[in-house]
């Protein structure tokens, strides 16, 4: 019995597949792999790479926080944002990373507002890094998801 994987964000359904053999999910407590017959679980999602392994290959996406739930072989991912690997614009992600880095390296921050800015920059840095990582990892590895769309 394969898993049913649903990835939704507030704006749309990103992925809905019923032939998933296992899902590797980044949670705030660490990376976990969900297999069929998993005990019901609810966890909060970290910023990281989500991989769904199917009989024909695997599908990777960058997820940016949210929730994961598995009940009766249905995995539901409520993501704050999720991008499939083929939708990631590496140049943009790289640019965002550079921008965040500059901001982090910038002047000393004392105000509360500055602290928020700093936090934001750190988060956007983290997101950008994940995007770049997911994108790079999946390129030229012969993953069907990529060759199909190349």
């Amino acid at each position: 019995m394969p898993l049913h994987l649903i990835v939704v964000t507030a704006e749309r359904t990103v992925l809905d597949r019923t032939d998933v053999q296992r899902v590797i999910v980044p949670t705030t407590e660490g990376q976990i792999t969900l297999l069929p017959m998993h005990a019901p679980l609810m966890a909060s999602l970290a910023i990281g790479e989500l991989v769904a392994v199917t009989p024909t290959g695997s599908e990777a996406m960058a997820v940016h926080g949210g929730f994961v739930q598995i009940v009766r072989d249905t995995v539901t991912i409520l993501a704050d944002a999720a991008e499939r690997v083929e939708d990631i614009d590496e140049e943009r992600a790289e640019a965002a990373r550079a921008r965040a880095q500059r901001r982090l390296a910038g002047e000393r921050i004392t105000t509360e507002e500055g602290q928020v800015d700093l936090l934001r920059a750190r988060l956007s840095m983290e997101r950008a890094l994940v995007r770049v990582k997911v994108r790079r990892r999946r390129r030229g590895t012969g993953a069907p998801a990529m060759t199909d769309r190349a």
Binding site: T13, T28, A39
Partner: protein
């Protein structure tokens, strides 16, 4: 000539009504394409909303009896009642904004006798202008969210109500918006936002033993603010789909009315023109007869 001026006036009126019809037709087309996109967005958000409700139902079923599991769940005596009032920025959408404003005013007046203070947070220019005149204190005004508000538009609104609620400045928060039923029907809808009343999904909540990572309380703490944001987002999407549909319908009605008017005016115009020609002919004939008699 007495008839000529009237005829010219009718002709001008036809022209002007035709121009109006052209404008309303264009607005109808614009609204209908925006409506399609707005509806798609509203439907696109539904899976997330329903999944999140399911998760929350299960989670709070787990933390049952513990209303104080999280501050956003705790209800307390209401001294300060606030509501988020969502309207469109622009008019020309039939009764849409007026109906919403009426619903908002009703809500405010209903609560007023029972609480010390009723205040409103307006989203959209039409509601803002309405409540500026009403005298109810306004906690904040949000306008120009655009035709397709993104999730990031929600954050400041959610932050405001969550902060005010947790700090105790506000004890209860409602949200009112035009629910999109179908293209012809939009319904002013009002519901409670804070304290979060968990969606009734008690069928299999508690029946399933969950593993929680980190803890149910930890998950609740991250889920609840999201849930509030999601509800506001949903309301914005519904309101935007409603606005475009209402405008499309209103503009179609206006175009139809203008065309009917053009038809009426054309009839009147033809009649007046004929009368004028008849009058002229009579004048000529009469003049000629007079000449002949004179010779």
């Amino acid at each position: 000539m007495p008839g000529g001026g009237a005829v010219r006036a009718i002709r001008q009126r036809i022209k002007s009504v035709q121009n109006t019809a052209k404008v309303t037709k264009a607005m109808e087309l614009v609204a209908s394409s925006k409506m399609r996109r707005a509806q798609q967005r509203a439907f696109g958000a539904r899976p997330y909303a329903s999944q999140m409700r399911a998760v929350l139902a299960q989670l709070s079923g787990y933390a049952q009896g513990a209303e104080d599991a999280h501050p956003l769940l705790a209800s307390r005596p209401v001294k300060h009642f606030a509501f988020i009032h969502i309207t469109a920025d622009r008019g020309l959408a039939g009764g849409l904004n007026a109906n919403m404003n009426r619903a908002g005013a009703t809500l405010a007046l209903e609560h007023q006798p029972h609480v010390e203070r009723v205040s409103v947070i307006t989203v959209g220019r039409k509601g803002r202008d309405f409540f500026r005149r009403s005298g109810f204190p306004r906690l904040a005004e949000f306008t120009a969210l655009g035709d397709y508000p993104g999730f990031e538009a929600v954050r400041p609104i959610a932050r405001l109500v969550i902060d005010d609620f947790t700090s105790g400045a506000v004890d209860q928060v409602f949200i009112g918006y035009q629910q999109f039923v179908n293209t012809a029907v939009q319904r002013p809808t009002v519901r409670q936002l804070l304290p979060v009343s968990s969606p009734g999904g008690d069928e299999d909540a508690g029946a399933t033993e969950f593993i929680f990572e980190p803890s149910p309380e930890g998950l609740l703490a991250t889920l609840l603010p999201r849930y509030v944001e999601m509800q506001i987002f949903e309301a914005l999407l519904e309101a935007s789909a409603s606005e475009q549909s209402a405008r499309m319908v209103a503009m179609r009605a206006a175009t139809d009315a203008a065309n009917a008017m053009v038809q009426d005016l054309t009839l009147t115009y033809n009649k007046a023109r004929q009368e004028m020609i008849t009058g002229e002919l009579l004048d000529i004939v009469g003049g000629k007869a007079a000449l002949e008699q004179g010779s």
